[in-house]
């Protein structure tokens, strides 16, 4: 244990010295900034059914903050807000955050449905917020002017996944099941036209996210249905769906979207899962950071690193504001975020936003689950 702590501290120190990659325009990593004090918020599902993902996001936000504070000599503090992936809870947290005059930006929330709920509140308060996992395409049509994301959107993921299914898995018929949340229905809307254009017979089903009994639905999977697409966010549900398939001797393969990327929970052999985030342990430039995160917090998946990137963007924006001799406020931090131009990042790709807050040239990654339950990246 002691050794792990020392290793983590050493790795963190090394990363802090190198400034962890590039920074936003105008902010010089390592430049001393006197009295650069600011508060930012974190919104994520720290408890609830997807607490594992939310906790990972919080860990990476903390990690980015501690490294950036050290590198930039800033005093940015983080206020945690637990949304439980519930729009109502996210609204309550956002009301607390927006009424906190010291808060200049927010990392999160995690889910698209939460962004839908809090977007108007954030806009009214002029609060910039950057999500590391909300991917619904409808979020960046311009209706939430203070919203940004460091991950790609479902209008990229949906067609990308659908095309892979059509061109590689060649199903004659498939079932697609939404979980009645904005994230899920948005993906279904993005994928279905691709399936229909390929003349695949589509059985579109819908179950509430709280459902845990899929036996009746699985009974509807016919022998000609070779793929079941689950654009869900609760990995335990997909695991149960897979078990129900096995119990009823159904051969269909599950294709999950990024919400199901959970190596510890969703382990149905032969399934596919896409992810907005890469496996950073496979990115050489992230080796020290990945080791530090693992030593400090244990194993992690793909939900944490994008939140690290989101927090880093905010930290650098605040630092650039201070360097310009201004006191960080929501408006000047927002302007600095808009000017973000990182040629590389923890995600292995540049971070630059378009006029609606979308990541320019973002992409998704596809994994296949092996018989041992391990996620293996599909090249391409």
């Amino acid at each position: 244990m002691k050794g792990r702590v020392i290793a983590a501290a050493a790795a963190l120190g090394a990363l802090a010295v190198t400034g962890c990659g590039s920074s936003t325009s105008g902010s010089g990593g390592g430049t001393a900034l006197k009295s650069c004090v600011a508060t930012i918020g974190f919104e994520g599902p720290i408890t609830g059914p997807v607490a594992v993902l939310g906790t990972e996001q919080l860990h990476f936000a903390d990690l980015a903050l501690s490294m950036d504070n050290k590198a930039n000599k800033t005093k940015i503090s983080l206020v945690q807000g637990d949304t439980q992936l519930q729009p109502s809870q996210a609204t309550t947290v956002t009301q607390q955050f927006t009424s906190n005059s010291k808060m200049v930006a927010v990392v999160g929330p995690a889910g698209s449905q939460e962004v839908e709920a809090v977007g108007p509140l954030m806009a009214r308060a002029g609060m910039p917020f950057i999500t590391g996992s909300a991917t619904a395409a409808a979020l960046t049509t311009g209706k939430y002017p203070t919203f940004f994301r460091v991950v790609s959107k479902d209008s990229v993921q949906g067609p990308q996944d659908a095309n892979y299914i059509v061109n590689t898995l060649h199903p004659k018929s498939l079932m697609i099941v939404d979980d009645q949340e904005a994230y899920s229905t948005g993906l279904v809307a993005a994928m279905t036209p691709v399936f229909k254009a390929a003349r695949i017979k589509v059985d579109h089903e819908s179950v509430p996210q709280t459902t845990t009994d899929f036996s009746s639905l699985v009974s509807k999977v016919t022998s000609s249905t070779s793929v079941v697409v689950l654009p869900w966010q609760v990995a335990a549900n997909a695991q149960q769906f897979g078990r129900d398939l096995a119990q009823q001797h159904k051969k269909a393969v599950i294709f999950g979207t990024d919400g199901l990327f959970s190596p510890g929970t969703f382990t149905i052999s032969g399934s596919y899962v896409s992810s907005f985030g890469p496996d950073i342990t496979a990115i050489p430039a992230d080796a020290a950071l990945a080791a530090a995160a693992k030593a400090k917090y244990g194993s992690f998946g793909t939900f944490g690193p994008p939140v690290f990137a989101a927090t880093h963007v905010i930290d650098e924006a605040i630092a650039s504001v201070c360097k310009a001799g201004q006191t960080p406020s929501r408006s000047n931090v927002m302007a600095a975020i808009k000017n973000t131009d990182e040629p590389t990042s923890i995600l292995g790709q540049p971070i630059k936003f378009d006029s609606h807050g979308d990541l320019i040239n973002g992409k998704f990654f596809l994994f296949k689950i092996s018989s041992s339950g391990k996620y293996q990246l599909i090249p391409g």
């Binding site: 059914p49 009974s219 609760v234 149960q240």
Partner: protein, 305 residues
């Protein structure tokens, strides 16, 4: 036809769970005229009890005891612990309000529901816990009749659910305690005047109803593999609906209501679409209530004026 029978098996199994939880709702309403909204959370505590028993004996992949013995311990512990919790809730939260206006215990019940949900959150965290049943009860075990499959867990749920319901029916109709429960449900004051220990009878009712919810929680954990502090709400709502449709206060009514909801959900998912399941199920239930306001097996109550 095979598809119909597969959906019937699925529906009856889920319905059996609803029935077990609905029985507790109905029994408590019978003796206290109280809608115990904390009942779904007792089911959740039962599911957690089962989970921790599995962990105690080495976890699903490395059990240190035979599976039948594990199941017995899970059911007995969940029944005992949750039954005891039900008695404690009655004693400290509901009994002081027994003569208060009916809205007071109702609000208290909602408060107890939140208390239990958040206590479990504080104690064990918010993450979903996985039973991993297939690690110790193979998915391929069970019965296959043509293309219709009934796995071991479903058989277990169906048999133990049926045994518990029959046992409860016999207890209420054939035993001294059952007679006392019926007397208290009929007229509490008169029962007291006849020498029946009302407090003890109500506590016994809470114990039995809560124990059934605890056992149902373990069954749900075995079937659906996951347990979290929030799972009680939806099941509680469906069980409450089952109890009302069957005729709240009626034990056979609660059994019938649970089975009807389970089968209706399954058939609508299978033959129409999962998209419309809740819409059609609750539409049917509204129609039933309009046609028989006291529920399918409920009796019209004559009010004293």
């Amino acid at each position: 036809m095979a598809f119909f029978f597969q959906e019937l098996v699925n529906g009856v199994t889920t319905g059996a769970l609803y029935s077990l939880v609905a029985l507790g709702f109905s029994m408590v309403y019978g003796v206290l005229k109280l809608l115990n909204f904390a009942h779904g959370d007792l089911y959740m505590v039962g599911a957690f009890t089962g989970y921790f028993v599995i962990q105690w004996f080495g976890g699903p992949a490395a059990l240190g005891i035979p599976v039948p013995l594990l199941l017995i311990i899970m059911f007995v512990l969940a029944a005992g612990l949750v039954g005891g919790l039900g008695v404690a809730i009655e004693r400290f939260a509901y009994r002081p309000l027994r003569d208060a206006p009916r809205i007071a215990p109702l609000i208290t019940a909602i408060g107890i529901s939140f208390f239990l949900e958040n206590s479990v959150l504080l104690l064990f965290g918010g993450q979903t816990r996985i039973y991993n049943t297939p690690e110790f009860i193979s998915l391929s075990s069970g019965i296959s009749i043509g293309p219709v499959t009934i796995d071991t867990v479903q058989i277990l749920v169906l048999l133990s659910g049926a045994a518990l319901m029959i046992g409860l029916r016999l207890l209420v109709s054939r035993t001294r305690l059952g007679k006392q429960m019926r007397a208290v449900a009929s007229d509490r004051e008169a029962a007291e005047m006849l020498g029946i220990n009302v407090n003890m009878t109500i506590a016994a009712t809470f114990f039995i109803g809560s124990a059934l919810a605890g056992v149902a929680g373990v069954m749900a954990g075995l079937m659906f593999n996951q347990v979290a502090n929030t799972i009680g709400f939806i099941v509680g709502l469906k069980a409450f609906t089952a109890a009302v449709v069957g005729g709240i206060g009626s034990i056979p009514g609660a059994m019938l209501g649970g089975l009807l909801i389970g089968i209706a959900e399954s058939m609508i998912t299978g033959y129409v679409s999962s998209t419309f399941t809740n819409l059609i199920v609750f539409g049917i239930l509204i129609a039933v209530m309009l046609a028989r306001p006291s529920g399918l097996l409920g009796r019209v109550q004559l009010a004293k004026v």
